[in-house]
Amino acid sequence: MELLSFGDTGWGDELFLATLMTIAVSIAAMAIGFVFALIFTPLKLSKNKTLNLIGNCYTTIIRGVPELLVIYLLFFGGTGAVMYVASIFGYDGYIEINAFITGALAIGIISGAYSTEVFRGAILSIDKGQFEASQVLGIKKSIQFYKVILPQMLRLSIPNLSNVWQITLKDTSLISVTGLVEIMRQSYIAAGSTRDPLFFYSVAAVLYLVLTFLSMKIINKLEIRFNKGY
């Protein structure tokens, strides 16, 4: 227990900050994923063959390759790409992209692919009458989406989005390979300097369990709230 005390002697405060970092990266990744999902869901549902193909390529490729690969590609490739672009503008120095940004972006791209599938499923399960009724009432397409389809889509997708959130939360542990100090990285450092890996990785496991447990509780509350009218 001494190892977990707060202050200079223990790892309690470091691990606490690392937990906050994990939560921050997960939320950022989830938000980035939503942006991707809102772009690619219409593409996947589109009747245009080319747009459809683009949407399908995104979800198939991202869900078919390991998460670690996406992270490495962005981490190693991203720096090179940014430096290449900078060199066109005449800057030849070394540019290091923030680990938080690459990490959140990489996990966001992955969780976006899962969210896209969830949203697609939700829209497909909305009753056709809803679309027809709003058309009959003369509601414009854009307003139809925001006021009629989107609220229903969100309600229907909450149970599956909670799965996506769990996956995203666990995937953030992979960002530790890029050096971002979240739970996994901090445990690795602590385990290395105290030579007690069993203890610190157990603590990491418990922290992740607590996070998944708490998020389940919160999501269940949300679900009840969103289902009020039904």
Partner: protein
């Protein structure tokens, strides 16, 4: 570009071996825990639930580190015959992956067991088939058939999971790609080629499962 292929193919073989062995042990573990889960004894039931909760609630990387770095820390294990197994990163990876996929498989099989129509079991009972034979000859085959689509997804998830073996020094496909990246400073070539191989493997697994579903799938 062509010169990196042989090393990546070597890595693919390792990835494939890791996948096959962890899926095999995972299926056994999953079946075992699924049977415990449908048991009526609350204690056994809770134990099986705890197992699947732990392995589904924590990242695979934590489990891998716990087994690879953590177990080696226990003096008792280091002096026992088990040390031969847990000092090898390859076996640690297989243990971690098997336990992980076992937890997911147990959930898949459990839900399959629970959705078996009562009628089948009642029919077997009225024909005088013993409980044991009903379980082995009726419930298990139906459960396996019903869980094929979900299990196919689990195989693909595990294929992606095996890439984590590279962080504990195993030269699987991901490890080889990392080595190529370090040696050549060409991240795009290395990782995109590896990505294409992974996609190809996913594609093959997907189609095999689809074929099995068509052939043995359970029509309700």
């Amino acid at each position: 570009m062509i010169s990196i292929f042989p090393s990546l193919l070597n890595g693919t073989v390792i990835t494939f071996k890791l996948l096959i062995s962890s899926m095999f042990f995972g299926l056994l573990i999953g079946l075992f825990f699924a049977i415990l889960r449908i048991n009526n004894n609350p204690l056994i039931n809770k134990f099986a639930y705890g197992y699947s909760y732990f392995f589904r609630g924590t990242p695979l990387l934590v489990q891998l580190y716990l087994i690879y770095y953590g177990l080696a820390n226990i003096e008792f294990l280091r002096n026992s015959f088990l040390w031969v197994v847990i000092r090898e990163p390859y076996w640690c990876a297989i243990i971690a992956f098997s336990l992980n996929t076992g937890a997911y498989t147990s959930e898949i099989l459990r839900s399959a067991f629970q959705t078996i129509k009562e009628g089948y079991i009642e029919a077997a009972q009225s024909l005088g088939v013993s409980k044991k034979i009903t379980f082995y000859k009726i419930q298990i085959p139906i459960a396996i058939k019903q869980s094929l689509p979900a299990y196919g997804n689990e195989i693909i998830l595990m294929l992606k999971g095996t890439s984590l073996a590279s962080v504990i020094t195993i030269m699987d496909l991901m490890g080889e790609a990392r080595k190529v990246n370090v040696l050549t400073f060409k991240p795009f070539e290395a990782f995109i080629t590896a990505g294409i191989i992974y996609l190809f493997l996913t594609f093959i697994i997907h189609n095999i499962v689809k074929y099995l579903e068509k052939k043995y799938g359970f029509q309700t």
